[in-house]
């Protein structure tokens, strides 16, 4: 008997709980990525050890970093437009939080089960572009301006392939709702064999590749990190930000990475679910779901950061050409093929 069903929380209690969950999960996602990938993974790739002092093997380094950022002086450049300058990181952070709202982590564990789940995610993730442009213009710094404008062009250019790539999955699943997509993958079958469910990575591999590339660009990670080109623009649109505001940009970047990886896991690997043929009771899935989702998310995060630390960066015109002339046609072709095959089979 499920002990939790005896409770009957009211609406405001549930909402508060969900709000707290969001506030906890979002930075935690960023923290996990930063520690595992930015401190340790990249260090091992560089044949060095990374932070080892704070805590065993540097595990408390994050606390030190957060503390460092928080205790800094809150300054803004003299010539900057103060209100917009201070608002920009909040907008970028807001778009990150909004993404986490629809990601399902278990049979009931979703903050808001929107019927237009994935459509909502794509729409909301574009809000960060406004924040970046605001940061670029309001900083009163030519480097920030260059970075912000580059970011504007790049982020908008790579929205389209992302949408088109996701469309393939949506056509195959027949729904926009993320929870339904998970269940469709877990309950599906491949040519009659239901032991693995039907993870869309098998049929939508092209879409997955395009989606991962566009995530890389949306997060302004190398090879698409022209806006934050460290050796040219010295942090681009974030150059005038320090202290908590920079921490917000930083957190937003890595939380978004975590969030998008979770979405990729949901769309292509089956999210929190295991194949229905394995007959695992739902009660167990309430607890195991988030853990499974975490595992699948980390796989995608691994790819994102592995690519990030391996490649040089593309020039702005080269990455625009890549988006418009290569990714979009391939994504369109993928949609057509998916649609035809869906109707045929």
């Amino acid at each position: 008997m499920n002990p939790f069903l005896a409770l009957d929380p009211s609406y405001w209690q549930v909402t508060t709980l969900k709000g707290i969950m969001a506030l906890v999960v979002v930075p935690t996602g960023a923290a996990i990525i930063v520690f595992v990938f930015l401190f340790k993974f990249v260090s091992f790739m560089h044949s060095r050890l990374g932070p080892m002092e704070a805590g065993p093997h540097g595990s408390l380094q994050l606390i030190a970093e957060a503390g460092k950022f928080i205790q800094k002086e809150d300054i803004a450049p003299d010539a900057a437009d103060k209100r917009i300058f201070k608002l920009a990181p909040l907008i970028v952070m807001a778009s990150t939080f909004l993404i986490y709202v629809v990601i399902p982590a278990g049979p009931n564990a979703v903050l808001v089960d929107l019927p237009t789940g994935i459509y909502y995610v794509l729409a909301v993730s574009s809000l960060s572009v406004i924040g970046v442009l605001m940061a670029g213009w309001a900083s009163a710094n030519k480097y920030a301006l260059l970075g912000g404008l580059r970011a504007g062009g790049q982020l908008i250019a790579y929205e389209l392939p992302m949408v088109l790539a996701v469309l393939g999955v949506v056509i195959q699943a027949g729904t926009l709702n993320l929870q339904q997509i998970v269940l469709a993958q877990s309950g599906g079958e491949i040519f009659g064999f239901s032991g693995l469910g039907n993870p869309y990575i098998l049929t939508q591999f092209v879409a997955l590749v395009i989606f991962m590339i566009t995530i890389q660009a949306e997060l302004t990670q190398t090879p698409f990190d022209m806006p934050v080109a460290e050796s040219e623009l010295v942090a681009g649109y974030q150059v005038e930000y320090t202290g908590v505001r920079f921490l917000l940009f930083f957190l937003a970047e890595f939380s978004t990475a975590f969030g998008f990886s979770a979405i990729a896991a949901t769309l292509f690997l089956g999210g929190w679910a295991v194949p229905a043929a394995w007959d695992i009771p739902t009660v167990a899935m309430h607890f195991a779901g988030p853990a499974i989702l975490l595992g699948k998310t980390m796989i995608f995060c691994l790819f994102i950061f592995w690519v990030r630390f391996s490649f040089p960066r593309l020039r702005e015109d080269q990455l625009q050409k890549f988006a418009w002339k290569v990714l979009i046609p391939i994504a369109l072709a993928n949609i057509m093929v998916t649609a035809v095959l869906k109707v045929a089979f």
């Binding site: 560089h46 190398t222 460290e230 050796s231 630390f309 960066r313 020039r315 080269q318």
Partner: protein, 390 residues
């Protein structure tokens, strides 16, 4: 072997021209951007004043002098051994290589030839300085382009070479080891075996760089066709070293000039590349590193015993005369023109540094490129601020 077809060149020029037309119609003014003097991409305090039109450079000009130390005036009041200490610091990454042309010029004026073993030691340390210098370049160029990993490998593998230089001379960057008439000390025990294994590691590093960076399509897209220098322009500006050889000029002072170093005793090759773009400069330097390890191996194998210092007086007075000696330093051609009046100190020393000429081409070269290309081109020309600013 050339990878840029004429069609691609035409397409590039046509794109530039159409951009220019649009700008003329819209009458957008240029934005002036200061790149430097504090900037991660300029190797030191170089300031580039770029007039930009969006992302394109209308006019870019380097402003130097933030590190000018007045060496040419200082050398007039320093004795020859003291000058050796000073000039160590011109190209601080090339360590031993700075001292050699000066010492050779002084020896030419005095009519002394260093013993054979000293010449071997000089050449070996010279090549090790070259290896250390170019490994830094290979990693650094990657960082300019955004690849964060190769530079760590570069610094890690440079340590082997720098440890060897330190074992002999006592200094990693400023050895101050060359003396008029020979070198200061001999190799310590076991140095030769350690150096041979260091060379093996350097070769492994070069292979890693080739896989990691040169094969990467993104690297090629960023560097091929960027910053093309035709050979005649290169000669006019006095471009030297790998920059000239990457434009197809077959000229290497190690082979073509006749100074007191023993390159003739080793079997090695001069690498050139016909393209003249940033990729070519990277490629030539990578091959040169391998070649340098081969030279060191051969010389270490064939070095014989003997004195390391010729008979020179304690207090050195160089006879009257003028001499110019230039050697193939890691950055290019570095030469010292010594005018001596028979005193303890030189009368005038003109220091001809490679980076000064290499960077003088940038106003010509940076017209019409994109902002990211500025960084690529500067990275591929590879200058050291101490070399420009003396």
């Amino acid at each position: 072997m050339t990878a840029i077809s004429d069609r691609q060149k035409l397409a590039y020029v046509a794109a530039q021209a159409s951009d220019a037309r649009v700008n003329l119609e819209l009458e957008t003014e240029g934005m002036i951007l200061n790149i430097g003097p504090q900037h991660p991409a300029t190797h030191g305090t170089l300031r580039i004043v770029a007039k930009l039109d969006g992302e394109q450079v209308i006019h870019a000009e380097p402003m130097m002098g933030y590190m000018h130390r007045g060496y040419e005036k200082l050398t007039e009041v320093r004795t020859y051994p003291q000058v050796t200490t000073l000039i160590n610091r011109i190209d601080w990454v090339g360590s031993f290589a700075n001292e050699v042309p000066f010492i050779l010029a002084a020896e030419q004026l005095m009519g002394i030839e260093a013993p054979l073993r000293a010449q071997y030691i000089r050449t070996i340390l010279f090549e090790m300085g070259r290896i250390a210098n170019i490994i830094l370049f290979l990693g650094d160029m990657a960082v300019q382009l955004g690849a964060l990993t190769p530079i760590f490998y570069a610094f890690r593998d440079r340590e082997y070479v720098l440890n060897q230089i330190e074992a002999v001379t006592g200094g990693r960057f400023h050895p101050n080891f060359d003396r008029i008439g020979g070198v200061k000390d001999d190799f310590p025990k076991g140095w030769i075996e350690d150096s041979l294994s260091a060379m093996v590691k350097v070769r492994e590093f070069c292979d890693q760089m080739e896989d990691l960076l040169m094969g990467s399509e993104i690297f090629q897209a960023r560097t091929r066709g960027v910053g093309v220098i035709p050979p005649d322009v290169a000669q006019q500006f006095g471009l030297s070293g790998a920059n000239a050889r990457a434009s197809g000029i077959d000229w290497d002072l190690r082979r073509d000039s006749n100074v007191g170093l023993v390159y003739g005793d080793a079997d090695w090759k001069v690498w050139t590349h016909p393209d003249g773009d940033s990729f070519a400069r990277f490629w030539v330097r990578l091959q040169e590193t391998r070649e340098a390890t081969s030279i060191v191996d051969q010389l270490l194998g064939s070095i014989k015993g003997g004195p390391i210092m010729a008979k020179v007086p304690r207090i050195i007075k160089v006879p009257e005369g003028e001499a110019y000696v230039a050697t193939e330093n890691p950055l290019g051609e570095m030469g010292y023109y010594i005018v001596s009046k028979g005193d303890l100190t030189p009368f005038r020393v003109k220091i001809r540094t490679a980076s000064f000429n290499n960077v003088s081409i940038t106003p010509w070269l940076l017209r019409g490129v994109y902002v990211p290309d500025i960084v690529t081109i500067l990275g591929s020309l590879y200058f050291i601020l101490g070399d420009i600013d003396r």
